[in-house]
Amino acid sequence: MNDIKSKLRDFILGELIYCEDPTLFGDDDDLLEAGLDSLGIMRLIMFAEREFNVTLPDTEVVPDSVRSFNALTHWIESHRP
């Protein structure tokens, strides 16, 4: 669980959005408000499916699933074999 979250943090804060000090970006803070857009969401899902060996169902690809690190981790975790 923590491993998933830390990999997601590295990827999103390193490549998809900016924030003043990544260590201060909380796990419940809003990623969409911080600038995660539709292209970023696509990159993120591609990364997550490959990295964690999951298939994320089409109908669950909605802004709420990717709104925060906690939401994302929970979502990916629920599809792990």
Partner: protein, 492 residues
């Protein structure tokens, strides 16, 4: 030919037909004409100098579309601002373009002492019947500029008309069509939505922006709204084909999809084509300066191998030629722009004999189709948006503490990504730079990959070694941005 002629005609023969739809609001052709007529009268009452553009500061939707029609009917050019981009860039464009007035959804959108027309406070009026001369500038669309500042492409009524009528015939638009408008107004794809669709008496339904982040909901929306066609960019279509739940979709009304703005990777286009076997697909090509000048109707039989798809054959009555020395594609014909809009004036930008040099490298294949190979300069496309690395570099160089910088494009799984290599003073961080850039540049122009260096790699002759810069990004960064356990909140 006046761009509004088709709309005027439709509002007479088809007054009760649905014209603009946004959420639950539906405006008929007659209602749209009255709204736009009121805006035209309000613009005329300002008695602006002829040929001055009027900016539009309103999100994509009914209000903004009526503003376009009204400004054009008053004989002025519309200049749509990117409402999602940073305020500083909007101000830069307002000052550079020397607009005469702003049509806004909000009185606070003013700048200096420019008159502001607040769109929802304007009384309706009859739509003006006098036509506008075809050479009049209709739209000024700002795009990224290689000199470091945004650059305004000025398109005449006749140029947009030539494109919009060609594509109207291509997909045989009729009053039965209902088209999803996806592109914002400052993006040239929107001229199809506004002018092809309204001249055909069809209906524009404005797609809510949030749906581009939820592909399966986009599918449901297209189903329930009975959308018959739309025009978008490959990156959005790839996401939709991949996660749009298309296998279970019942898109019975959808007849066509047009795409442009960037190359569509063949494997991703194949996935889209296989999911929508009955839908016509068209690859349109053309820098904003040409509207559209080349077209390939997607031939599904040719998607089985992974050859890049062609940009096809000349479109909209244009002539194309390839410069024999540089292999650059050059265009001449009815859809060409009138020039760049610089400091309130039109600056012609064609060759002496009237050709536009695209900067794109092309060849012709055995079937006589044009094939795109890349750029002569450094311009890149990010999700269909044009980005000049020089403009990003200019913004970066303007930041205190950035000693040197260069911006390159790196090919990723999902198209191009911008990457910046910077030499910094000690007390500046990448995070801080990204924050400062966010105040100046739209999101798609902000590099997503970063490297700090002690110096930038150079060739023996002192020029930047761009290949060596690109190599800096070929490995993943050593990421170490896991939060301290104690810090949970995001601080401004």
């Amino acid at each position: 030919m006046d761009l509004l002629q088709g709309f005027r005609h439709q509002s007479q023969i088809n007054p009760t037909g649905p014209c603009l739809v946004e959420g639950e609001t539906i405006l008929s052709y007659a209602q749209t004409a009255r709204r736009a007529g009121g805006i035209a009268r309000a613009v005329q009452s300002l008695a602006l100098a002829p040929n001055r553009p009027v900016a539009i500061a309103a999100p994509k939707g009914i209000e903004a579309a009526c503003a376009v029609l009204g400004i054009l009917a008053a004989g002025h050019a519309y200049l749509p601002l990117d409402m999602k981009g940073p305020e500083a860039r909007r101000r830069q464009i307002l000052s550079e373009s020397q607009v005469s007035a702003i049509a806004a959804s909000d009185a606070k959108s003013g700048a200096g002492d420019l008159p502001v027309l607040v769109l929802d406070q304007i009384q309706e009026a009859d739509f003006p019947s006098q036509s506008v001369s075809p050479a009049t500038i209709a739209a000024i669309l700002y795009t990224s500029g290689s000199t470091g500042t945004p650059k305004g492409v000025a398109l005449s009524h006749s140029a947009i008309h030539a494109f919009s009528q060609w594509v109207r015939r291509l997909v045989q638009l009729s009053p039965k069509d209902r088209i999803a408008a996806i592109a914002p107004l400052h993006f040239d794809l929107s001229t199809f939505d506004l002018f092809s669709v309204l001249s055909a008496g069809a209906c524009i339904d404005f797609l809510p922006d949030t749906l581009t982040s939820a592909p399966s909901r986009l599918t449901e929306w297209l189903e329930t709204r009975k959308i018959t066609g739309f025009y978008s960019v490959p990156s959005l279509l790839s996401f939709w084909a991949w996660k749009g739940n298309l296998k279970k979709a019942r898109l019975n009304h959808l007849r066509f999809i047009l795409f442009a703005g960037e190359p569509f990777p063949t494997s991703q286009l194949r996935e889209l084509a296989n999911s929508l076997p009955a839908v016509e697909l068209h690859n349109l090509y053309g820098p904003t300066e040409t509207n559209v000048c080349c077209h390939w109707p997607v031939d599904r039989a040719r998607l089985s191998d992974d050859q890049p798809i062609p940009i096809g054959k000349p479109a909209c009555g244009n002539e194309l030629r390839i410069d024999s020395d540089s292999s650059e594609l050059q265009v001449n014909g009815p859809t060409l722009f009138s020039g760049y809009w610089q400091r309130g004036k039109l600056t012609p930008a064609l060759t002496d004999d009237g050709w536009y040099r695209t900067g794109d490298l092309v060849s012709i294949n055995a079937l006589g189709e044009f094939v795109w190979h890349g750029r002569l300069d450094r311009m890149v496309k990010i999700a269909g948006h044009r980005v000049e690395p020089a403009e990003v570099e200019a913004a970066l160089s303007g930041l205190e503490g950035v000693k040197q910088c260069t911006v390159v494009a790196i090919a990723g799984d999902l198209g191009m990504q911008l990457a910046a290599a910077v030499v910094l003073d000690q007390d500046l961080s990448i995070a801080r730079i990204r924050q400062l850039l966010n105040q100046q540049l739209p999101q798609y122009m902000i590099p997503s990959r970063w490297r700090t260096c002690a110096f930038l790699p150079r060739l023996n002759n002192g020029k930047l070694d761009l290949q060596a810069v690109e190599k800096l990004f070929s490995q993943r960064p050593p990421a170490n941005i896991t939060p301290a356990a104690s810090s949970r909140r995001y601080a401004d």
